[in-house]
Each structure stands twice: as structure tokens, then as C-alpha cells.
Symmetry: C2
Subunit: 399 residues, 2 copies
């Protein structure tokens, strides 16, 4: 089901440098444009302190007549008060105007430093330049993907092409990661474009379903951003009536795959990270219980430093589960790291420590399986290890 | 009200090396002994995965006839199953026997590596040696304090002497910190001795009150230990009837001061820490709201790395508050770091960044004041910064 990287029908994209970032090699503004009104859905940060673009997009989604998403990196337009709100609105108007749409047909994504007003002259020039460069080649896609990055080391796109009832339906997703450096804030942004026909409510539900098991299951340091946003734009250019029932299930499956691929790419590119950790928590009473336990384990500095040091320190994992606040029988807990069992039914089991340590040290991927005896619910989480390099990157900004 | 470091009447103490730790320079077993049955209260970790000594002590407190607390460092006796429970019970019996008490008159505290059976031969020899060394000099106190340390760099004791109704009442507290290295687990242990006469219920309530605002307001990395325990032993040797009303209030105040002094000493000696951060959260609807917000800020890796880097990065602090899950008006939030206002009523204020940065860099103590407009509740938290050295210390154990 993997597809070559291509835009769905009726979409164009571009990325430019307009001076929001100082480094002229780095793109900092992108446009994603649909040639017709697209259904748009969004899921957003639940941080009470949310950025201006989040407020704007939240009011416009789910919606049915969106033509353009304007994205900038280098400035989050967060904690900027009423002027920030006005700037986000003006940014949307400029983008809409540049492609011949109405002001309210635009959405905005911003990422970067918190607490500074966004330089609107640069934005205005960038929007003009990007509108002139729009196209549907792979170069255009990569440009748009690069324009949304901050300290990510690689751009992140994922594509699927599926056959539904005789139609070819394409999906293309973009994401930027929770990379942080200096004054910048962890921010996760994503946008998935599709030519599938969807109603607004169906699009919103499909996106929420997909993010639940993907973007909501990653954590770098547990610090929820002011800007986190994932958008889905569905312009219906593939033709036919809105997807429902079995057709919708096919679409949901592809959307889920794209979101999972992009979500996993974020900790894989985490700042200073030397391991991508995949944690499966199983045997819980409810999925929410599994989620809370997984989050506690994935956010423990002690667990993450142990992985960085290739230390099969199961006590840190088990005790993190123990303080998550979810009741469980300690004697029903077992643990495996890279398929080596370290803990069985609440007691240590003998294992070959050098072998276990080597399996962590020599693989960038670390798999942890933590099982309980409360029920059948499970969840999969992805996180990074915690290295001295992460600390250096986030501490060594001084004014 | 500060007192020279002295044991309350009727108590003796000792610390020895018995080989639980390899390094013969390091003490690893202590006894705290009362010459008469003491009222004992305890507060414990709420981790579902709790160590064997926690289970034993929990069953024996509050109680009224405790003679001895035996403490070891270097092995946490945690995640050790039924054999661990039996070992803790035997350790209590050995300590009681060594001082001529009954088996059930002893409490046990353990700290150190998780998941290994405690070497009982060493414990038995250590208990015998310590019982022979018991005394009430400052050397004895320091020995007992050192016997409970793991990677702490300094021992932690605090004393108060108060006059209550013509009696001199002494309190002496011991603590060990949340220092972690290699396979060892963050563990906070504390014991406060007093010659005040208290009933078990009053002792338990007094200890719970005192820990609520002190030991429960510190965090290094948010990883709750399997062994956290604070005990209060009150042997009544100061004479008179059990404290109540105004006399009890006087005692509570002194107990609170001791616990605060010891609690603050723990992050001050945090592993790899270069700053002790004191965070005041004010203007919340409830104290619990303030606590949840303070915890989110104090446990944010981004906030802690910013402090390490002397970066007055208020966006990280405000956004951490925003994801704590407590409702508040963003436009009612203001923030000061070292008395310099960085954020006012939900918007940035101009400030001299080099000056703010220098004030963080040049002071080991960093004060953060975060104010809300929801009510009058407040809390004070203490934490450390997060340095590359912390990561190294916790990652660079390899098997």
C-alpha cells in the first residue's frame, strides 16, 4: 500500500525562505493549496496556553470550504496576546488572497520560538513567493515539508494510494517533529492531504481516530506544546460521493498508516536521541489505563537514561508503572526488553546481563513489552532515550 | 529555634559498614534506638510497587511501642517477592534482639539497588556491630546519618529544641536524598526522633501534616521510588502528658521546620544539579490545583534544562502550567524569575535578557514565582535543574 510520494489530485504545494529564520539555507514558509474547497478537520493541543493559529484553525474546523494552509517555522506565534491573534488572521488573509480565495478559506500553522511577534513583512513576502512557486512535483512536496521544520534533521512525509470502488484515492501526510533547541518549543505539526470525498464530520472523526493511536502515543519529554496541530484536508478530487461504511474503513486504515508512519518518525528524529523506544503495554483493564502506564514509563528520566546507557534496568520500568496511579496486581507484572525476559510475575528472573545490555547498545530500536494481568486492553507508545546531548541542546542557549 | 545537633532524651544511634556496599569507606547500616517504647508514625510511598520494608513498617505504624529503627543503604529490598518480605521481617527481629527488644518493636528502612536479595549475613553482622557502638554524641548522629546515604554527597540532619509548658522538647531529623546512580533507584528516606510525649494518632497526623508541605513538595525527576518513607519516633522522655492544643501546635511548627529543612536539602544535593529551584505557585483555586501545576513545571525537562543553561525561557514555564490539566485564565498569568518579571497578564513584558540570564547563572538558588487569578491557594515546591551530568550519572552504568 506504500505509494511513491505524490500529491493527491487537485493539490499543489511550495516552500520558500522568507527570513523568519536567519539561516538563508532553511525554508521557513510553506503553502498547501487545494484547487477547490476542501473539507478540513483538525486536532489540536489541549494545552490551555495555546498559540494564535490554534485558535484560528479550531474555529474553522471541521469545515468544508478550505483552499489553503499557510505554514511557517521559526516563530510559534504563541503567548503573543491579541496582537498574535490579529497576526494569525492577517496571515490567513494574505495566503487566501495570494491564491485567489476568500480570507476565511485559509488555515494557519506556526512553529518555533514562543513569545515573539511574528514578522509580518516577511510572512507577506513569503506568501507571495510561495504562491508563485506552487506545483505538484516531488521537489514541491519536499519544499513544503522542509518549510515546516525547526530542528528536525530530516523532513517527514508519508504517502498511500488506495483503490476504493474503482477510484484511486491518494493520501499525503506532512509532519514536523518535537525537536527543541535553544529558545524553541517542542512542537508537533502535521497535515494530511487527500483527494478522497469526505463530509466534514466524517473527516473529523477519521482524523481523531487516527491520531488517537499514533500522534497521541508519542512522547519525547512529556512537555505538551502550545502549537500541536494535525490537519486533514479532503478535496474530493478523486470524484464520487462521500466515503461511508466499508469504503470509509479502507480510507481510515490508510489514514491510520500514514499517521503512524509520521508519528514514529518524530521520536526517531528526537533531539540527541540514540534510541527509538517502542513500548507495548498489554493486559490492562482499559485502554486508558494502558495509556497512563505507558506515558509514565516513557516519560521517566530514569528509564530513558537507562536506555541511553544500554542498562537493562527493569526496576526503573516496573517502578514507573507503579506510580502511574493505575491499580494493578504487582505479582501479575512481567517485562521483556528486546525479547529478553527480565521480570516475571512480580519477581526478578535470572538473565544474561551482558547479552541484554549489548542488545540495547547495538540496536537503535529498543522494544519493551510490559504485561499486566488485569484484562485485555493494550497500547503501543514510542519515545526516545534521554542523552547528555539532549540536555546540551536544550540548555546551551543563553541570551 | 535552631538547635545544635543533639539526640532527644532517651535515644541512641550508630552507623557502621557491614559490606552491603563494596566501598569500605562508606557506612551502610544504622540503628536508631529508643530506651523505652516510642510512639511511631510513618508516611510511605504510594507506588503500587513498594519495597518489603515499606510493607512491614506500614503494618506497624501508627504504633506505640517501637524501640529501634534499623536502616541499610546499598540494597532497597524492593521487587524481591516473598523472600524479600521474610528478609525484612528477619532484619527487624535481628535489630530488636540486638538491643533486647521484642521482634515486633522494630521498624526497617532500606535504600539502594532494586531487585536483589539483601545479603542477610552482612545485615546480621552489621546489626551486632552497630548495637555495640550505640551512643548519643554528635559522632554517633553523623554515623547514623551516613549509614543511610547512597549517592548523596552530604549527610542530612536537622534539629530543633523548643520549650513547651516548662519542658524542653527536642527533635532530630535524618534524611537521605533522591540521588541516583547506576542501578540504584531514587529513594527518599527520613526519620525524625523526638522526646515529646505524643499519642499514636496525634503523631501520625502531625507527621502527615508536616510531610504534606515539605517532603511531598520536592521532585528531582518525578520518578516515585519504591521505598520512600518518613518515620516519626516520639518516646515521651521529655516527660508530661501527651501534647495537645497549643502545645501540639508548637510541636507541629517545629516538626514542620525540620521536615522543610531536610526536604530542601534533598534537591539541593540532587545528582548533577547546579541549581536549587524554589517555585512558588500562587492565586490558584485550591492548594491541590497549585500542587498539580507546580509538579508539572518542576518536572518539565525543558524548564529544567533552561535553568541549567541560565536561559530565562518563560515560554517553557507557562506552557508547562498550561498542560497540567488545571483550568485557569491564561490572561491572568504572570511570572517572575529571581524577582525579574518576564510575563504579565498573559503577555510578554520587555526585560533585560542578559541581566536575567546572569542572575540565574551566578546564583545556585533560582526563585520562580508563577501567579494565577483563580483564588488564594498557593504552594511552594523545590526541584533541581537538569544537567548533562545527571544524564551521565544515570546512563553510564553498563553491566
Amino acid at each position: 500500500m506504500n505509494a511513491s510520494i505524490a500529491l493527491p489530485a487537485g493539490f499543489r504545494a511550495a516552500g520558500v525562505h522568507c527570513g523568519i529564520k536567519r539561516d538563508t539555507d532553511k525554508l521557513d514558509l510553506s503553502l498547501l493549496v487545494s484547487d477547490r474547497g476542501a473539507v478540513a478537520a483538525g486536532v489540536y493541543t489541549t494545552n490551555l496556553v495555546f498559540a494564535a493559529p490554534v485558535g484560528l484553525d479550531r474555529a474553522r474546523t471541521p469545515g468544508s470550504d478550505i483552499r489553503v494552509v499557510v505554514i511557517n517555522s521559526g516563530n510559534a506565534n504563541a503567548c503573543t496576546g491579541p496582537k498574535g491573534d490579529a497576526d494569525a488572521k492577517e496571515m490567513a488573509r494574505l495566503a487566501a488572497e495570494a491564491i485567489g480565495a476568500k480570507a476565511e478559506q485559509a488555515l494557519v500553522l506556526s512553529t518555533g520560538v514562543i513569545g515573539f511577534y511574528i514578522p509580518m513583512e516577511n510572512v507577506a513576502a513569503g506568501v507571495q513567493a510561495a504562491a508563485k512557486k506552487l506545483g505538484d512535483s516531488e521537489d514541491h512536496i519536499v519544499g513544503a515539508a522542509r518549510g515546516m521544520l525547526t530542528t528536525d534533521t530530516v523532513h517527514k512525509v508519508a504517502a498511500r494510494s488506495i483503490q476504493i470502488g474503482g477510484r484511486t484515492i491518494r493520501l499525503l501526510g506532512f509532519a514536523k517533529g518535537a525537536a527543541m533547541i535553544g529558545p524553541r518549543m517542542a512542537t508537533m505539526l502535521g497535515a494530511v492531504l487527500t483527494d478522497a470525498p469526505l463530509t466534514p464530520d466524517v473527516a473529523q472523526a477519521a482524523l481523531r481516530n487516527a491520531t488517537e493511536d499514533t500522534f497521541n502515543c508519542i512522547t519525547i519529554d512529556g512537555h505538551m506544546s502550545t502549537n500541536d496541530t494535525v490537519l486533514l484536508l479532503a478535496n474530493g478530487a478523486a470524484g464520487g460521493s462521500p466515503l461511508a461504511n466499508a469504503e470509509l474503513e479502507q480510507f481510515q486504515h490508510a489514514l491510520h498508516e500514514i499517521c503512524a508512519e509520521l508519528a514514529k518518525a518524530i521520536p526517531a528524529d528526537g533531539e540527541g536521541a540514540t534510541h527509538l523506544v517502542t513500548l507495548d503495554v498489554t493486559g490492562c483493564k482499559t485502554r486508558e489505563d494502558a495509556r497512563v502506564i505507558a506515558k509514565a514509563v516513557c516519560e521517566s528520566a530514569l528509564v530513558k537514561t537507562a536506555i541511553a546507557g544500554a542498562d537493562p534496568n527493569w526496576g526503573r520500568i516496573v517502578s514507573a508503572a507503579g506510580y502511574a496511579g493505575i491499580p494493578f496486581q504487582p505479582e501479575g507484572v512481567s517485562l521483556w526488553v528486546n525479547d529478553i525476559q527480565l521480570y516475571k510475575n512480580g519477581a526478578p528472573v535470572p538473565f544474561d546481563k551482558p547479552v541484554a545490555s549489548r542488545s540495547i547498545r547495538e540496536n537503535r530500536d529498543t522494544r519493551i513489552l510490559l504485561t499486566f494481568s488485569e484484562g485485555d486492553a493494550r497500547i503501543r507508545f514510542w519515545t526516545t532515550d534521554l542523552t547528555a546531548e539532549y540536555v546540551r541542546l536544550n540548555a546551551d542557549y543563553t541570551t
